[in-house]
């Protein structure tokens, strides 16, 4: 059965790469793409989306604001979120976790790294 994953990134190529990497690690992914937090909030159907993978630095609405809004919304706050970002400092990592991100991957990333985080987060979900 396929897993509906929302991929939020302002880079079209990065969204494609995440979808490709999920397929590479054996995930039958049914992707929903969004170009920033604002777009993602519009497209986020809490009944169908099973996982969100979001970038941090994006125009319009950044990933952290998006995560906060998801966590504040009753019917959306249960959705697991992995942040996939170039922001790799411990301070940023802690800030993201404090805002409700379930796990964190820094770019550049490998499919193996994504698999570890995906298995962990989806196992918990």
């Amino acid at each position: 059965m396929s897993i509906k994953v929302m991929i939020v990134d302002d880079s079209l190529v990065m969204r494609k790469l995440v979808i490709k990497s999920l397929k590479q690690i054996g995930v039958d992914v049914d992707p929903v793409e969004a170009s920033d937090g604002k777009d993602a909030l519009k497209k986020l159907d809490p009944k169908s989306i099973q996982l969100i993978i979001s970038d941090w630095n994006m125009p319009q609405m950044d990933g952290l604001t998006f995560v906060k809004k998801v966590r504040e919304t009753k019917d959306k706050k249960h959705i697991p979120i992995i942040m996939l970002t170039t922001e790799g400092s411990m301070a940023k990592f802690e800030e993201a976790l404090n805002c409700g991100v379930d796990d964190y991957i820094t770019k550049p990333f490998t499919p193996d790294k994504l698999k570890k985080k995906f298995d962990k987060v989806m196992g918990k979900a």
Binding site: V13, M14, N57, E87, G88, S89, K107, P108, F109
Partner: protein, 161 residues
């Protein structure tokens, strides 16, 4: 800005570029001798500019010719990419990853700054409007790929006012 910090930024950018190209693009790249230049013109067809704001202010610029960018983005996606929009977008993401990785490394020495989303400039020789050198110069680091293609990573940085 003191020379030691400037060299740390240059070193972090070189390491980040090598790592990003190896991990995401499966391409070995070798840095050549950096040089200084005064120009505000882009060195190749596709240029990504990221602004730095924090303890330091400035810009990092990644310029690639169209063929190198196409090869890099195609390698990254594992598929031949032909659409210009995707090549430009991918070049922007490469710029973003290089600067982001260097930023993380530099935070370990308390050199903290925020980075902008990349601004893309098309056309060799285009003026990089987002940059003001204020009498200073750009430090340009040429990189050579395994196919002998050359791209340039450039830095302008100073202490925050």
């Amino acid at each position: 800005m003191n020379e030691k910090l400037f060299q740390s930024i240059v070193r972090s950018l070189i390491i980040a570029a090598q790592d990003v190209f190896q991990t995401m693009i499966s391409m070995e790249v070798k840095p050549k001798e950096p040089f200084a230049r005064k120009g505000l013109d882009s060195l190749a067809d596709i240029t990504g500019v990221i602004s730095l704001t924090g303890n330091i202010v400035g810009s990092v610029i990644l310029s690639m010719d169209a063929r190198t960018a196409q090869k890099a983005v195609s390698n990254m996606l594992g598929d031949q990419v032909e659409v210009e929009q995707e090549i430009v977008d991918g070049a922007g993401e490469i710029t973003n990853m290089v600067v982001g990785m260097a930023k993380t490394e530099l935070s370990n020495i308390s050199c903290d700054f925020e980075i902008s989303v990349p601004v893309m400039i098309l056309g060799k020789g285009s003026v990089i409007k987002h940059l003001s050198l204020e009498g200073s110069s750009l430090t340009t680091i040429p990189f050579e790929t395994e196919d002998a293609d050359v791209f340039h990573l450039e830095l302008y940085a100073k202490d925050a006012p």
